[in-house]
Amino acid sequence: MNKTVTINIAGLVFHIDEDAYNRLDAYINAVRNSIQQEDKEEIVEDIEARIAELFSDRIDQQSGVIRMNHVDEIIEIMGKPEDYFIEEEGYVAKEEGFTTSKGTKKIYRDGERRILGGVCAGIGYYLNVDVVWIRVLFILLFFLYGLSTLVYLILWIIIPKARTVPEVLEMKGEQVNISNIEKQFRQGISHSYQTLKTNGKSAENIIRKVIGITLIVIGSIGTFGSFFVPFIFNHQNKRMSDNMLYFNENIWGLPFWTLSLSIFLVSCLLFVILILLGVKIAYPKVKHIGLISIVLGFIWAVALFFFTYGMINTNIGQLKSKQTISESLEKQFSRTDLMLGTNDTLTLILDRDSRIFTINDTVTNGYKYSEIDDIEVRILESATGKPYLEIEENLFTKSSDQYFHHLSVFGKSKTTVANVHFSNTLNYNYSIKSDTLALSNAILATLNEFTEENEVKVKIFITPEQTIKINGRDEDYVEGVDLDAGMNYYKLHKGKLQRTKENSIN
């Protein structure tokens, strides 16, 4: 029993056995590949017309069907694919090499040994590596931020699938000639490649559609969201956020908005490519997607480069500024002994600075309160056996006429000092009344660009015999202490602060 297909060659209709059809199809494809000349299709049309003519002479009058022996006969008459090869002018004849050499290898996706798209199998053939190792590599890459997913999908789009026997041979790096094509037929491989086109399509199609449409939806949301990305930049101040120093356009060579544009493109294009990918997966017949993706990918890479470059420059500048600032900070230490008996308890009050009520916390008279984070309280063991208090103030007092200006020159960043006037005095409030130490929760400092660089470190030194009782609302800033309400008696044990039994009494 033999299945028969109907074909149309050069306008004539023939019935042909399926195996005969497969061989004829492979033959014509092999011929097409061996013609090294312009107007390939025209030549192939002429050849097909001749084949049609030969068929009409040979057709079995009784059955009206073309059989394998007819096709063989015609291949005999027409010649091997190599016979179609003529030397172009200036082309060195190498006919012997043409038949014996290994064919050029091309990368294709292997539909035969595929799990998803046959990408790994195709790469395996191309690199002459067992497909298992390529798959292992992809699985390992998945744990790197899911990198392999993106790479795989992109390769899926870019690499064409091996659909015809000659393509399968090219994928395997074998010579495309009739003997190899016949070998493929004997192995029955071409048959399964042929049927791949028709069978099992519906299930694959549904999965493709679902994945594709999901990607399109995600991509669309992301693209929409990307339009909000540039808003992280403050164009008025030419800053990315409050923490970022000025971005100097003259030195950067490009206006500030390029930074916004580049981050927009970096974000948006990625999602657009995701949409295209979804379209390609859901509707594989849409053309040019690969090309468009490559172009967009290129633009994306350029945008990423610009953005990264801008950010690195700005960050280097920021680091340099910080360094310069910290070099300009002056440390001032003050030490006060605490009048405390050997077994006494020191009461620590962490309270709001009373001046907060006399000076508005809005900017008044050039003063403002610094953030509470800038005060660091530590309780340590005294080495002298006597309790004392040490306050370290980092003051920005090197010069009264300093202002930092950030410059960045392609890869080289420097920080210079310009001329904005301010004076800086730090004013930290605390009081000691016998066994009670009241610490303020705020620093009063001149408002300027570097107010935030000011800081106060309070170190309270006590002996292990002494107890410390922590009162107050703002308890968060005592280092290394987990304060619970009411649990406020602490003692030093081997240099670490621990709760004492008095807590249970409270």
């Binding site: 011929v31 002429d46 050849i47 008459i77 010649g79 006919e95």
Partner: protein, 117 residues
């Protein structure tokens, strides 16, 4: 050195000349050209002719027209262009020179060999 290969090379070289000569007096369609060439044992397999015809056509030496056929697909009738005619005339001159030269050389060699014997 493969004898078949050398033979094929020799045939291919004069194939273009022969195709143009065939078309000198009348227009032919592809199968006719094939039959005539095969009859003259100049062509072993048909495949070779198609790229060659297209090359001659692209070179402006041939032109073609379609004609309906009663038995089979439409036929492509090739015709020699004016340029092709000039080309053919030049080739004919060269061929005469070549065949004379080949004849002279092979005969001289035979003669010398005969002398040596």
């Amino acid at each position: 050195m493969n004898i078949e290969n050398t033979k094929a090379q020799m045939r291919k070289g004069i194939l273009e000349f022969c195709i143009l000569s065939l078309l000198k007096d009348r227009d032919c369609y592809t199968s006719e050209i094939l039959d005539l060439l095969k009859e003259a044992k100049l062509l072993v397999v048909e495949g070779t002719i198609y790229p060659l015809l297209t090359r001659l056509k692209n070179g402006g030496l041939l032109s073609y027209r379609w004609e309906e056929s009663t038995s089979g697909p439409p036929r492509k009738y090739y015709k020699l262009t004016d340029e092709g005619n000039l080309f053919l005339n030049e080739l004919a001159v060269t061929w005469d020179e070549l065949s004379t030269a080949v004849e002279t050389i092979t005969k001289t060699n035979n003669h010398e060999q005969n002398c040596n014997h």
